[in-house]
């Protein structure tokens, strides 16, 4: 079956010739009209629209956006904050970069609608430190929007006011975790908070109720306010509504970003048709479907079970190529849609070395607060580095697994899982390669095999 056409809702103007980040360009293309209409509605109605839309967060966890908003403590009398998670730190993910650099006003309009709907009067965009240009573009865009009355005090004469500020991170992955991000925004080390009691919806920024949403999620809010929640829910598939941006990197002919209705494109269509298939003379070996912490999939393996389609339970028997790219299907086969970052590896890659690369990332990024994660991530890095640069033993795979198994579930935040899942899945799917790595190392390497550790 041929791949469906892209459905560019968020990325409609990305890479369009002549389209600039300037306010006049955005307004010329109908910008801020949705905000103008939204301001004439009751905030509660807008929250209802988002609930009806079925929108799930695009940052990684896929949590219902409407539900997140409805959990906010509105009775405390404390101010409510919106924090935009623009940390985009999950390896393999590179979608928010283009929104912020090329279409910043789309994000600002989504922010302003979200703030109005939730009675927020101060919002912060927490942007990763490695996007210095993005931060400048956003600051300029906010100043333009403010001067034109789309943000700041008395938005479009409505009497409602909200200030938006850009806050730059400084190179720490853990700031993508929402409570770590909040600590960082308070000027501290980004140590994630323990939940309960520190659910951001109740005790977030400055111990006030706080909504933390991803950049792409907030752009979807704009389109939901525009077309209505019901119409939006018709895009995509049930429980996986709307569109989503998939970022493909690694060993394909045409890597890049592609926006599809959620669940309408399969992994095979995405990699073989949209991205042009493997590089010349190569075959696909493995793919990580949702950012580097998602569990790896091995080409050639089968996934079988039963799933709900409409009212019926139907059996499925899929290869990697057959998997629909949505939250539920990827969770069903034991991985996750995560942040939409699809990393492809072909047969030139050693899975031991790829895991060594991933382990080096997680040991560098562990915040160090919880012992199992701090020590475990370093041990996993050291074991894989020793396998690559020193002596590899057949039992190293089992040793790695035993370390990983003692991290997940024993930490304050989901980083524990994020650093354990790659090791657990690489060993489960490519155990033979770990057992035989000493022999593989002695044999000649494939031409152009990349160094990874």
């Amino acid at each position: 079956m041929p791949a469906p056409e892209q459905h560019r809702l968020i990325f409609r103007h990305i890479d369009e010739a002549g389209y600039t980040p300037a306010l006049d360009c955005y307004v010329r293309n109908g910008g801020y009209e949705v905000l103008r209409k939204a301001l004439q509605r009751k905030p509660e109605e807008l929250v209802e629209e988002v609930k009806k839309s079925g929108l799930r967060g695009r940052g990684g966890a896929g949590f219902s956006c409407g539900l997140k908003w409805s959990l906010v403590d509105r009775k405390s009398g404390k101010p409510i904050y919106l924090v935009v998670n623009a940390d985009e730190s999950e390896p393999g993910t590179f979608k928010d970069r283009y929104i912020m650099h090329q279409d910043p006003h789309q994000l600002i309009e989504g922010i302003m609608i979200t703030c109005f709907a939730n009675k927020v009067e101060r919002a912060f965009i927490y942007i990763r430190g490695e996007f210095p240009d993005g931060a400048k573009i956003l600051e300029k865009a906010i100043a333009e929007a403010r001067a034109a009355g789309f943000a700041g005090p008395n938005v479009l004469g409505s009497g409602y006011g909200c200030e938006v500020y850009v806050h730059r991170g400084a190179g720490a992955y853990i700031c993508g975790e929402e409570t770590g991000l909040i600590e960082s925004l308070e000027g501290k080390r980004p140590y994630p908070r323990i939940k309960p009691p520190y659910f951001p919806a109740v005790l977030g920024l400055y111990q006030c109720p706080t909504i933390v949403n991803n950049v792409e999620t907030l752009c979807h809010v704009k389109h939901i306010a525009d077309m209505g929640g019901e119409a939006y829910a018709k895009i995509g598939t049930p429980n996986n509504t709307g569109t989503r941006i998939l970022c493909v990197s690694g060993h394909v002919q045409r890597p890049g970003y592609f926006e599809f209705e959620v669940g309408k494109v399969t992994m095979g269509q995405l990699l073989n048709e949209v991205c042009g298939g493997p590089l010349p003379g190569r075959t696909f070996k493995a793919v990580i479907p949702g950012g580097s912490s998602a569990k790896v999939l091995r080409f050639g393996e089968r996934y079988k079970g039963k799933r709900k389609v409409g009212a019926d339970m139907v059996e499925y028997d899929w290869g990697v190529e057959d998997i629909p790219m949505d939250f539920d299907c990827l969770a069903m086969i034991g991985s996750m849609g995560g942040s939409g970052g699809v990393i492809v590896m072909d047969d030139s890659v050693s899975m031991v070395e790829a895991l060594g690369n991933i382990n080096a990332f997680y040991s560098h990024e562990s915040c160090g607060q919880c012992t199992p994660c701090r020590e475990g991530s370093i041990w996993m890095k050291k074991i894989t580095a020793r396998m690559v640069h020193g002596a590899a033993r057949p039992e190293d795979g089992a040793l790695l697994k035993s370390v990983a198994d003692q991290i997940a579930g024993r930490t304050i935040c989901a980083f524990g899982e994020a650093c354990a899942w790659p090791t657990q899945s690489f060993i489960a799917k490519f155990g033979d390669e770990f057992r035989a790595y000493a022999q593989a190392k002695a044999a000649p390497r494939p031409a152009n095999a990349p160094e990874l550790v």
């Binding site: 806050h167 190179g171 992955y173 000027g187 690694g250 580097s292 990332f361 990874l452």
Partner: protein, 163 residues
Amino acid sequence: MTNLKPETLSRIDEVITHYPQRRSASLPLLHLVQEDQGYISAEAIEWIAAKLGLQPINIYELVTFYPMFRQKPVGRRHIKVCRTLSCAIMGGYRTCAEFQKQFGTGLGEVSPGGDVTVEFVECLASCGTAPVVMVDDELHEKVDTAKARQICDRIKAEGAAAH
């Protein structure tokens, strides 16, 4: 600190107003001071802490945690090569080795002559155009060894012109 530029000082005073609590301005102040001075000195840590009504340890612990803050000067240009998976499988390690070779320098050191500091950094969120490199604030995409050499030539020419 008496040697901060007047523009930096006014930006510092402005950014503090963004937050209901002054401590939130710690990271913005560290960025501003590092942009002005090139690195964060012990004196700067004390100055920022005093400015925000904090103890020096509250700022020092940020400098030692966040990878982008540094306590020593870097070379005239700061080359940051992405080390993470998508860039590595597309040849990021070769790219990094080329930069080191061109400037005869190890990772994290100021090169002889002071042109550059070459560093490996974690994911820069541009995986679709791997391997990627940032030279100061500027992103370079699909930097294979040939493109790395072009960037090196440009930096060397700038350095020669400056002398």
